[in-house]
């Protein structure tokens, strides 16, 4: 009998420990003011993509991250912290970005993240810095021309888990099967391995993939609007306002348009004139 009690008490203790690990609220992070800390350390830590051409991609030669979002983050950092402001880039995926933000590993997310009402319950967004739209990438000569062609049993759509596009696709093509992979590199590779009929995500990302893989093309136009915003933790209003102000500044002084031209000016099929601010 005593043995059983000992086991039960041990089990209880273990459970309490596990619950503590999992359920304790993240008080410390929410209470600190990110802007004050960043100004003191003269550094903003950004969560960015490392596998997404045109937005944030790791250069194999130099090991540095490159892309529109990286350049924009640098410009915003300079506006907020002054010309000597430094930024640290932490590569994230659609699956890891929100936990990392909530835990305080990163100060802000600029990683092709669409502003949606569900997400706004968990994080705060700045106003949009890029107006993307969801589209499809298929092999050239594929019978699939738009999202309706995919709304049939037996069709497989590839996406990235944690992205807004896989949620949308359930609305537009409920009969298709959706496979969610961990990042865009995996999704593109899976498309090439014929694991799916089309890859869906936002047009900007898809044009980047099409530029690298000439046998693939973007089809079907944009069937949703996907405004990208910078995500910050709840209760970080000062930081969010400062970011909004910095965004306005880079849009006004032409930096934004210059970066848009630099990254999207030569992308075939992408109308960057429309995106100018």
């Amino acid at each position: 009998m005593r043995k059983i009690w000992r086991l039960i008490s041990a089990a209880f203790l273990g459970l309490v420990l596990l619950t503590c690990l999992s359920a304790c609220g993240a008080k410390s992070v929410a209470e600190q003011d990110v802007l004050t800390t960043d100004q003191r350390t003269n550094r903003i830590t950004w969560g960015v993509k490392a596998d997404t051409r045109l937005f944030g991609l790791e250069n194999i030669r130099t090991g540095k991250l490159e892309g529109f979002e990286i350049d924009l983050a640098k410009a915003l950092t300079k506006k907020i912290l002054g010309p000597n402001g430094k930024c640290t880039f932490v590569p994230v995926t659609s699956g890891t970005r929100v936990p990392l933000l909530k835990n305080g590993n990163i100060d802000a997310i600029m990683a092709t993240m669409t502003i949606t009402p569900e997400r706004e319950k968990q994080v705060d967004f700045t106003h949009s810095y890029f107006d993307a739209g969801q589209s499809l990438l298929v092999k050239k000569g594929s019978p699939i021309k738009n999202i309706q062609d995919l709304n049939k049993p037996g069709k497989v759509i590839l996406g990235v888990s944690g992205s807004n596009s896989v949620k949308n696709v359930a609305k537009f093509a409920p009969r298709a099967r959706v496979l969610q992979l961990s990042d865009y590199a995996q999704a593109m590779t899976a498309l090439k391995s014929k694991q799916g009929d089309a890859l869906t995500t936002d047009n900007g990302i898809l044009y980047g993939m099409a530029a690298e893989n000439p046998h693939y093309e973007v089809v079907g136009g944009n069937f949703t609007k996907e405004p990208y915003g910078i995500a910050v933790n709840k209760n970080q209003n000062r930081f969010r306002k400062k970011l909004n102000w910095a965004l306005d500044q880079v849009e006004k002084d032409g930096t934004y348009n210059r970066l848009l031209l630099k990254w999207f000016g030569h992308v075939k099929g992408f109308n960057y004139q429309e995106m100018k601010r």
Partner: protein, 212 residues
């Protein structure tokens, strides 16, 4: 937490089912393949022994993730259209079979060599001696380590999450990304894994004590 369970029990249960299915298929597959390669490894012909140990060493020394992803990405390009579940299960089977081959070989070695000689002297062929005398005794010895391999197999089946295999870990990732309630989701997923593995592990320890 309760909200999460009540709204997401369907995908979680589907994931649990796929995890169990994949584990059982991989266990049966790897038992057959593993025993086969264990027999190759103890063969009297050198060439066959080498084939056996090359297979075992290759699959023991390459990460399961590399094997499973390789099957998922490369096989459909050239050989056949297979989905993530199949690719992951095949990868898991081959990977585990190398470990089972080692376990079974150790079990066969633990049976006295005199018995094989005795059986051969009594007019049995090599195959018959293995089939009726050696393997039944060896399997008794290897049951506890095999049980541990099965627990490892259940845990390793989480690699299916990388190849969209709709297992428990994959469903957990989707729910965590969807609801953004990361820790509660993974807590539930952890409890579900423990429901399979913990009783098995205690039973194996009990068995080990009884056989020792």
């Amino acid at each position: 937490m309760i909200n999460l369970i009540s709204s997401q029990w369907q995908p979680l249960l589907l994931g649990l089912w796929n995890t169990i299915l994949c584990s059982v298929i991989a266990l049966i597959g790897s038992l057959i393949i593993g025993t086969f390669f264990a027999l190759l490894e103890i063969s009297q012909k050198r060439v066959i022994r080498v084939i056996g140990s090359v297979y075992v060493e290759v699959f023991r020394n390459i990460p399961l993730l590399v094997i499973a992803m390789g099957f998922f990405l490369i096989v459909p390009m050239y050989i056949a259209k297979i989905n993530g579940f199949t690719a992951g299960t095949i990868g898991l089977t081959l990977y585990t079979s190398a470990f089972i081959a080692e376990t079974v070989r150790a079990g066969i070695n633990s049976v006295e060599t005199g018995q094989l000689e005795g059986a051969l002297a009594n007019g049995m062929t090599y195959t018959q001696a293995m089939r009726y005398i050696i393997l039944p005794q060896a399997f008794k010895v290897v049951i506890p380590p095999l049980g541990n391999q099965f627990i490892n197999l259940v845990k390793n089946s989480s690699v299916l999450a990388f190849v969209a295999g709709f297992d428990l870990m994959y469903q957990g990732n989707l729910i965590a990304n969807d609801t953004l309630q990361t820790m509660p989701t993974y807590f539930i997923v952890g409890v579900l894994y423990l429901i399979i593995t913990l009783p098995l592990s205690y039973y194996m320890r009990h068995l080990e004590k009884k056989l020792a």
